[in-house]
């Protein structure tokens, strides 16, 4: 029999096995909890496809059959070598071990970013206390007119929209600010520096402005319940962004790209927790902060209470973890 004849006979004998490949691969990809029998079948198919591909590559290089077999083989390879999926275990590991480990690594950066925030807030306060006419740079005309008329803009929030709508808007905005503070770290940390500094500057300036009209206490009352966690989380996101920038300035791996990838995978896990914390902050800011019926003491308790929960979550103690352990390689978020 000629070479072609042999090849034809072999290909004909394999058609039945190949014709069902598409549906078999779709089924294997879709399912995550395969039985032992299915797994053994998949491994056997993987070996058989490997043999087929090897033969076809020699005899029919660059043919459609070779391309199609190679693609099916790659898909099956990806299914077989897919990491085991146990979302409960994954979440437990993430919140108990991985996030606390990253937070420990970020501790220095968090302190640095918090210091930057405090310093810029002080600078903003000094700037407006010394040059009150500059408030137009950080506050809208409507806000300025309101304060000058003895009324904080926060008092009108619930008149504009109901608390549910305000909460969703606020939490979406805060999460966006945190993500931006993190992502802009890619500009060697300068983007993060800018976001943190402008936020600090604005906060300090607004407090100085309201202080001039004897309303700083009212503003503090509004901010206290949600602000402690909200500002802390923005600083943490900023610290994560700083780590991104540092990975490019002082690479820890062979290339800056690899160093950046590792830093992004590691620090993004903290962002997930930050987002969850900000969701609750959004609801506090929508429902509790603008409500004049809540006395100061309640706001202090809520603010400190939520801040302690945040510290517990960041350290892993809230989820029963918090001990230093050796982590598996970073996989992102």
């Amino acid at each position: 029999m000629s070479d072609n004849g042999g090849l034809q006979a072999w290909a004909t004998s394999r058609i039945a096995a190949w014709s069902d490949l598409g549906s078999i691969l779709d089924g294997l990809e879709r399912k995550r909890d395969h039985t032992v029998t299915e797994t053994l079948r998949a491994i056997e198919l993987y070996r058989a496809l490997g043999r087929d591909l090897s033969i076809v590559r020699r005899t029919l290089p660059a043919s459609r059959m070779t391309r199609a077999l190679a693609q099916s083989y790659a898909r099956l390879h990806a299914v077989i070598y897919r990491k085991p999926h146990n979302w409960r275990e994954r979440l437990r590991s993430l919140f108990q071990d991985e996030i606390p480990q990253v937070v420990r690594e970020l501790r220095g950066s968090i302190q640095l970013v918090a210091l930057l925030f405090v310093l810029t807030a002080g600078a903003g306060y000094w700037l407006i206390a010394t040059y009150p006419e500059l408030i137009g740079l950080v506050a809208s005309e409507q806000m300025i007119e309101g304060v000058e008329g003895g009324r904080l803009w926060t008092e009108d929030i619930v008149n504009i929209a109901p608390s549910s709508v305000i909460s969703v808007g606020i939490l979406a905005n805060n999460i966006t600010v945190s993500i931006v503070a993190f992502v802009l770290g890619v500009f060697f940390g300068l983007g993060t520096f800018y976001i943190i500094a402008t936020n600090g500057l604005m906060l300090g300036a607004i407090f100085a402005f309201t202080h001039q009209y004897g309303m700083a206490g009212e503003l503090l009352k509004f901010v206290l319940a949600h602000g402690m966690v909200e500002l802390s989380v923005i600083c943490i996101a900023g610290a994560a962004g700083m780590m991104l920038g540092e990975s490019l300035i002082r690479p820890t791996h062979a290339t800056r790209r690899e160093s950046f990838r590792q830093a992004a995978a590691k620090t993004s896990k903290v962002l997930l927790l930050c987002a969850l914390l900000l969701v609750v902050c959004g609801f506090i800011e929508g429902y509790i902060s603008p409500d004049p019926d809540y006395p100061m003491i309640n706001r202090v308790v809520i603010g400190f209470g939520w801040w302690i929960v945040m510290v517990g979550a960041l350290s892993g103690r809230l989820f029963g973890g918090g001990k230093q352990r050796q982590l598996t390689p970073a996989g992102g978020l």
Partner: protein, 240 residues
């Protein structure tokens, strides 16, 4: 210039090369997805509006229900389209599927939810300052044609043409005495038939038929119309 590739190394020693999608395929997939998500979001907005007001009229203050049940889902559809579908469809979206591309890790595996979320977080940066300019520039300049989000998440966009059963059907021609090489060429020509210029496909079809059916006279072949040529090629693959 050949497209960049990554090699998927397997324990069996049979390595597979995955072709990395270039800026064209990426942009094509994105444009399709952008239209789909825009249409979905606008559809929800329209349906929600009609259900809320019972018509196309609008009041000055539509109320919080309108924001929560009409605007919010619209924004969620628009902004969460990519992360949700990429996770649910294991690195694909409808646009990627149509464009014949899919996301893989640098090892060629299916990416998990973490890397997929991370690459979408970086859309904020890639979309700066407008029309994904940062993303487009990095795609053009990097070896593996990746945007910043892909660098951060360690993902790649590779070509993923459907290996339909017709890819293997050419082997069926073994029964009709065709060599697998000739069967493969005929199948390829038939698949590309509508896209080819009439003169070119006629020339290729006649050359192929002359090889696989040497008994046909050249004059007879020259007289065959495009329809006849196609039918003859199909018959060559399907008839024993």
């Amino acid at each position: 210039m050949s497209s960049p590739q990554i090699t998927l190394q397997t324990v069996t020693g049979v390595d597979v090369e995955l072709t990395i999608a270039g800026p064209g395929s990426r942009s094509y997939a994105f444009v399709i997805d952008w239209h789909i998500r825009l249409l979905l979001a606008l559809s929800w907005l329209l349906v929600g509006h009609l259900m809320y007001f019972g018509g196309l009229r609008m009041t000055d203050n539509p109320g919080s229900g309108y924001t929560l049940w009409v605007w919010l889902p619209t924004l969620i559809i628009y902004f969460f389209y990519h992360p949700v579908l990429e996770i649910a469809m294991r690195g694909r979206t409808p646009g990627k599927r149509i464009a014949g591309v899919r996301l893989v890790t640098r090892e060629g595996d299916i990416p998990g939810a973490g890397p997929l979320l991370l690459r979408n977080i970086f859309r904020i940066l890639d979309s700066l300052p407008f029309c994904y300019l940062v993303g487009l520039i990095t795609v053009v300049l990097t070896d593996h044609h990746v945007r910043v989000g892909d660098i951060a998440a360690g993902t790649l966009l590779v070509m993923d043409h459907d290996s339909s059963p017709s890819s293997f059907a050419s082997t069926a021609a073994a029964k009709s005495g065709l060599t697998p090489q000739a069967a493969d060429l005929i199948q390829e020509l038939l698949d590309r038939w509508p896209a080819l210029d009439e003169h070119n496909r006629g020339t290729i079809a006649r050359t192929l038929l002359a090889r696989v059916e040497p008994q046909i006279a050249a004059d007879d072949l020259a007289r065959l119309s495009a329809v006849d040529l196609r039918e003859r090629l199909i018959a060559k693959l399907s008839n024993p």
